[in-house]
C-alpha cells in the first residue's frame, strides 16, 4: 500500500495545490506533502511496516495484458528515497523565495514527483511508459514558465529529444509485448520473451536510445547544458538530481535483465561512449565561465562514468553505480543550491564576476567546499566510495579504458577547484562588494546535504547493504548468459 501512497501523496497534493489561491498556503502545503512522502519511505526502509507494502497490483487494462503493478527492490527504494529527500530539500531551500503563480509552480512540481515515483516503482511496461512520459509533461510546463529568457527554446529542445526517445521505447514495448509468451507487459514476462539475436539487438537499441537521451550520454547530450542553464535553478535541481537517474535506473531495471545478450555484445560501444562523454564533458567544463553550465557539464561527465560502469558488468562496477546514483543526486543538489543562492543574492552566474566571497559569506564557502570535494570524489566524502568502486569495475573490464577514464579525476579537480577558488578567494569584485551570507533556509538544506555526504563517506555500509540484492540479481542475469 505504501508503494501506491508514494505516488498518490504527491499526485493528489499536487492536484490540490493547483486550486490554492494563496501562494503561501500552496508553499506550506507542498513542504508538508514532501515531508509526508519522505516519512512514508523512511517507514518502509526502517521495516516499521509489513513487507506487503512494498508492492501493489491491480487490474488495469486486462485486454492488453497490462496491470497497474508496482514493485520495489533495494535500488528502487534508494531512488524513491532520493526523490523524496531532494524534493524536501528543494522546498526547504526555496522556502523564502516568492514564485510567480505559486499554485501552478507547486502543483506541477508535485505532479512531476509523482511521475518520477511511478517510473521508479513500475513493474509493468505500459505503466512504466505512462509515468516516463507523465514525468516529462510537468517538467515541460515548469521549465518553460520559470527560468531565463531563452527558456522556451531550451525546454522545447529538451522535450523533443526525450519525446522522440520515449516513442522509440514505446515501439520497443509493443514489440516486446508481441514476443512475450503470455502477451503481457509485466517485467517478469519480458524476461521470458523468446527473441532471436537480431530482434534482441534492435529492441536493445530502441530502449537504449530512450534511456541514453534521458541520461544524457554522448552524442545525445546536447539538450542538457542548454536546458539546465535556462531553467530556474530550483527545477534544475530536480532534473539533474532525480530525473537523469531515470535513464540509469531504466538501464538497470529494464534493459540489462531483459536483453542480457545484447547488453553484453554492445557493452564495448556503450562503455566507449560513456568514457567519451566523461572526458568530453570534463574538458568543456574546464573552460566554462558560467556557473550553471559548469555544473551541467560536470553532471554529464559523472553520468558518463556511471553508464560505462554499468556495462562493465562487474560486481564493484555495479555496486559503485548504484551507490553513486544516490550520492551524485545529493552532491549535485548541493552544488545547484549554491548556484541558486549566488544567482539570486548577487545577480550573476559568471565565475569571472565573482570573487572573494569567503570573507563576505563564510558559511556558504564552507558548505560549497564540502559539495565541491564531494564532486571530485575526495576520500571521506560519499562520492569517493562510488567512484572508487566504479573505476575498479572498469579496471576489471579493460585496463586501457580505465586508464583513459582516470584522466577525468584530474580534470574534475581542475574545474571544481578552479570554480571554488575564483568564487571564494582573491579580491572582491563589484558584484560581491556588499554580499551577504546564505539565508537560513538554504543553509539548513545545505547542512542536511553536507551531513549526508560526510556520513555516507565515513560509513557507506547501510547503502551497500540495501543495494546488495539488486546488484546480485542484475549480475546473475548477465552471468547466466556468459556461461
Amino acid at each position: 500500500m505504501i508503494a501506491l501512497l508514494l505516488i498518490l501523496i504527491p499526485f493528489l497534493s499536487g492536484l490540490a495545490a493547483f486550486f490554492m489561491k494563496d501562494g503561501k498556503m500552496a508553499r506550506n502545503w507542498s513542504l508538508f506533502s514532501s515531508l509526508l512522502t519522505l516519512l512514508s519511505i523512511i517507514a518502509l526502509l526502517t521495516n516499521s511496516v509489513p513487507a506487503s507494502n512494498e508492492s501493489f497490483d491491480i487490474a488495469w487494462l486486462p485486454f492488453l495484458g497490462s496491470s497497474f503493478s508496482l514493485a520495489m527492490n533495494g535500488l528502487v527504494k534508494m531512488l524513491v528515497l532520493l526523490n523524496a529527500i531532494i524534493y524536501f530539500i528543494v522546498f526547504l531551500a526555496t522556502f523564502r523565495r516568492t514564485f510567480d503563480q505559486p499554485n501552478r509552480y507547486f502543483g506541477l512540481m508535485l505532479l512531476m514527483q509523482a511521475g518520477m515515483m511511478g517510473v521508479f516503482l513500475a513493474a509493468d511496461g505500459l505503466v512504466f511508459y505512462f509515468f516516463w512520459e507523465l514525468a516529462l509533461v510537468p517538467a515541460y510546463f515548469l521549465c518553460s514558465q520559470w527560468g531565463n529568457e531563452k527558456k522556451i527554446q531550451a525546454t522545447f529542445k529538451f522535450f523533443v529529444y526525450t519525446f522522440l526517445g520515449s516513442l522509440l521505447m514505446l515501439i520497443g514495448m509493443i514489440i516486446m509485448h508481441a514476443k512475450t509468451p503470455d502477451h503481457s507487459y509485466a517485467l517478469q514476462s519480458f524476461m521470458h520473451a523468446k527473441l532471436s539475436a537480431t530482434e534482441e539487438n534492435l529492441l536493445f537499441w530502441l530502449f537504449f536510445i530512450a534511456f541514453a537521451i534521458k541520461m544524457p550520454l554522448f552524442p545525445f547530450h546536447t539538450w542538457q547544458p542548454f536546458a539546465y542553464e535556462q531553467t530556474d535553478t530550483s527545477i534544475t535541481i530536480i532534473l539533474s538530481s532525480v530525473m537523469v537517474k531515470m535513464g540509469l535506473f531504466a538501464v538497470l531495471r529494464w534493459l540489462l535483465p531483459v536483453f542480457p545478450h545484447a547488453s553484453i555484445s554492445n557493452s564495448h560501444i556503450i562503455i566507449i561512449l560513456g568514457v567519451i562523454s566523461l572526458l568530453y564533458a570534463s574538458v568543456i567544463a574546464v573552460r566554462q565561465n558560467d556557473l550553471k553550465r559548469l555544473i551541467a557539464y560536470s553532471s554529464i561527465a559523472h553520468i558518463g562514468l556511471m553508464c560505462a560502469a554499468i556495462f562493465s558488468g562487474t560486481v564493484p562496477g555495479m555496486q559503485g553505480v548504484m551507490i553513486q546514483m544516490f550520492n551524485h543526486g545529493i552532491i549535485v543538489a548541493g552544488l545547484w543550491i549554491t548556484a541558486e543562492v549566488i544567482e539570486t543574492q548577487y545577480g550573476t552566474r559568471k565565475i569571472s564576476e565573482l570573487g572573494g566571497l569567503a570573507q563576505k559569506a563564510p558559511v556558504l564557502a564552507i558548505l560549497l567546499l564540502v559539495m565541491a570535494l564531494g564532486n571530485i570524489a575526495l576520500p571521506l566524502t560519499s562520492a569517493f566510495v562510488g567512484e572508487f568502486l566504479m573505476f575498479s569495475g572498469l579496471f576489471q573490464y579493460n585496463l586501457i579504458i580505465c586508464a583513459v577514464a582516470l584522466v577525468s579525476i584530474i580534470l574534475s579537480a581542475i574545474y571544481t577547484l578552479n570554480m571554488v577558488q575564483n568564487i571564494f578567494y582573491g579580491n572582491t569584485l563589484p558584484a560581491t562588494q556588499d554580499a551577504t551570507d546564505i539565508n537560513r533556509n538554504a543553509r539548513t538544506a545545505m547542512i542536511l546535504l553536507a551531513i549526508c555526504i560526510l556520513f555516507l563517506g565515513f560509513y557507506p555500509q547501510p547503502l551497500i547493504e540495501l543495494l546488495n540484492s539488486s546488484v546480485q540479481s542484475v549480475l546473475s542475469g548477465l552471468n547466466l548468459v556468459l556461461k
Binding site: V137, Y140, F141, Q145, F159, V160, L170, A178, L202
Partner: protein, 465 residues
C-alpha cells in the same frame, strides 16, 4: 437502419422548421434533440431493437462494427452541435438548412458504415459530399467561403467521376457490384485476377484517398478547410474524414486481402503513409494561422489513420474506432475554441491562459491528446495504430518513421501551448459568446478525453459487450 431513417426524417423536419418555428434560438436545440434521438435509436439497434425489419442485405449490412462507429460519429456530431450553437447561428442566414444538411450528411455516414455493394458506397459518398459542398459555401457573403466551396465541388465531382469509373471497371472485371468478390471474367488475367478488376480497384482507392485527404490526393484539403466557415471545417476535418476512412477500411478489408495478394499493396500503402505524414507534418510547421495548421494537422493525422488500412487486422479495427473518437473530440474542441478568438494566427492566442484559463487548460489537453501524450485518448489511438503494424510482423521501419513524424508534430501542437501559456499578450476573444455552458461543454469533452486515456476499455468494452 434506425439511424438512417431517423436522420432522413429529422432532416426533413428541420427544413420545415424554417417556416414553422419563429424562435430562432430554438432551432439549434431542436437539432440537438434530433441528434439525441438518432443516437438513442442507433444504440437501441446495437442492442437489437429496430424500427423496421426490412431485408436490405445485399445492399447494406448493419454489423456491430458499423453500428458502433455510427454511435461514435453521431456522438461527435452531437458534441459538435452543442459547442457550435452560436457559431452556426452566425454563419450565413439559413440556420435550419444548415442543420438539415448536417442530418443528410449523417444519412450518408450511416450508409457508408454499412455498405455491402459498391453502388451503395457511391451513393453514400454522394449523400455525404453534396451537403458538404453547400455547407462549405454557407457563408455566402464571404469570398473565401465561396472559393472554397467551388474548389471543393470541382475537385469532389472529379473524384466522384473517377470513383464511378473504378466501380464500372470492377463490374466489368467481376460481373457484380457486390463488395464480396464475385466470379472472375476471363478478359485478361494476371495471377488469376482480371486486369479490369485491378485497375478498377486502384482507381477506386485513389478516389477514396481523395475523400480521406491522403497524399498525393490531399491538395484540396488545406484550401477548403481554411476557406470554409470554422464550424464546417470542424465538421469536415473530423467526422466526415473519419467516416471516409471507415469506408476505405471496409473496402480494403474485403478486397485487398482476398483478391489482390499478387499486387504489392503494402508497399503502395506504405508510400502513401510516408508521403501523407511528411506533407502534413512538414507543412504544418510553417503555418502562421492556427486554422491552416489544424488543416495540415488533420492531413498528418490521416497519415496515422492510414496505418489501420495498411495493417487490416483486429487491432487496426479497434484502433480505427478509437482513433476516430480521440481525434474527433480533440479537434472539435480546438475548432470550437478557435471560433471564439478573433485573430486566428498563433499570436492571437498569446496569453490566453491569463484571460481565459478554462479555454486554455482544455485546449492544452486537446493538443496533448493530438500529440499522443499518455493519459489522453490520443495516446491509445497512436498506440493501436503502431501496435496494428507491429502485429503484421514486418515493416518495423514504417513504425519508426511514424514515430519520428509524431515527434515533429509536437512542434506545431506545442507552439500553440507555448502561445497560450508562456507568451504574454491580450488575446482578442469574443467574450459574450464564451458562455458558462460552452465552458462546461469543453470541460466535459476534456474530461472524457482524459478518462478514455486512462481507461480505454470504457469505449472498447462497449464494442465487445
Amino acid at each position: 437502419m434506425n439511424a438512417l431513417i431517423l436522420s432522413a426524417v429529422w432532416g426533413i423536419i428541420l427544413m420545415f422548421c424554417s417556416i414553422l418555428v419563429k424562435n430562432k434560438k430554438a432551432i439549434g436545440y431542436i437539432a440537438a434533440f434530433g441528434l439525441l434521438t438518432i443516437l438513442i435509436g442507433n444504440i437501441a439497434e446495437t442492442y437489437g431493437t429496430q424500427i423496421t425489419h426490412y431485408n436490405i442485405y445485399p445492399m447494406l449490412l448493419l454489423d456491430r462494427f458499423g453500428l458502433f462507429f455510427n454511435t461514435i460519429a453521431i456522438l461527435s456530431v452531437f458534441i459538435f452541435v452543442l459547442l457550435s450553437l452560436i457559431e452556426i447561428r452566425k454563419t450565413g442566414k439559413y440556420e435550419p438548412e444548415f442543420y438539415t444538411l448536417i442530418f443528410f450528411v449523417i444519412c450518408g455516414i450511416t450508409i457508408l458504415t454499412s455498405y455491402q455493394n459498391l453502388l451503395m458506397l457511391f451513393l453514400g459518398i454522394e449523400i455525404l459530399s453534396i451537403p458538404l459542398y453547400i455547407l462549405t459555401g454557407s457563408d455566402k457573403k464571404n469570398l473565401k467561403s465561396n472559393e472554397a466551396s467551388l474548389k471543393y465541388f470541382l475537385m469532389g465531382a472529379f473524384s466522384t467521376g473517377i470513383m464511378l469509373l473504378g466501380i464500372a471497371l470492377i463490374y466489368g472485371g467481376t460481373g457484380t457490384f457486390n463488395l464480396q468478390p464475385g466470379t472472375h471474367s476471363v478478359v485478361g488475367t494476371y495471377h488469376g485476377i482480371s486486369f479490369l478488376e485491378i485497375t478498377g480497384l486502384i482507381i477506386l482507392m485513389c478516389a477514396m484517398a481523395f475523400k480521406a485527404s491522403v497524399a498525393p490526393f490531399h491538395f484540396w484539403a488545406p484550401d477548403v478547410y481554411d476557406g470554409a466557415p470554422t464550424p464546417v471545417t470542424s465538421f469536415m476535418a473530423t467526422i466526415v474524414k473519419v467516416t471516409a476512412f471507415l469506408a476505405f477500411f471496409k473496402l480494403c478489408e474485403v478486397r485487398v486481402t482476398d483478391t489482390l495478394t499478387a499486387v504489392n499493396w503494402k508497399m503502395i500503402f506504405a508510400v502513401m503513409i510516408v508521403a501523407t505524414l511528411f506533407i502534413g507534418n512538414i507543412t504544418a510547421i510553417f503555418q502562421q494561422s492556427v486554422k491552416r495548421m489544424l488543416a495540415y494537422s488533420s492531413i498528418a493525422q490521416a497519415g496515422f489513420m492510414m496505418y489501420a488500412i495498411f495493417s487490416l487486422n483486429d487491432v487496426a479495427k479497434e484502433g480505427l474506432l478509437y482513433y476516430a473518437m480521440a481525434y474527433s473530440l480533440a479537434t472539435i474542441g480546438l475548432f470550437a475554441t478557435m471560433s471564439k478568438i478573433k485573430d486566428y494566427s498563433f499570436e492571437g492566442y498569446n496569453g490566453l491562459a491569463k484571460k481565459q484559463p478554462t479555454l486554455a487548460a482544455t485546449n492544452a489537453i486537446f493538443l496533448l491528446s493530438l500529440s499522443g501524450i499518455p493519459l489522453t485518448a490520443g495516446f491509445f489511438a497512436k498506440y493501436y495504430m503502431l501496435a496494428s503494424v507491429i502485429k503484421t510482423g514486418s515493416y518495423t521501419w514504417l513504425v519508426i518513421v511514424g514515430v519520428c513524424f509524431a515527434t515533429i508534430s509536437i512542434y506545431y501542437y506545442f507552439r500553440l501551448i507555448q502561445a497560450m501559456y508562456f507568451k504574454t499578450g491580450n488575446p482578442d476573444t469574443i467574450d459574450h459568446e464564451i458562455t458558462p455552458f460552452f465552458k462546461n461543454m469543453l470541460i466535459v469533452v476534456a474530461v472524457f478525453i482524459v478518462l478514455l486515456g486512462a481507461f480505454p476499455q470504457l469505449l472498447l468494452n462497449w464494442f465487445y459487450f
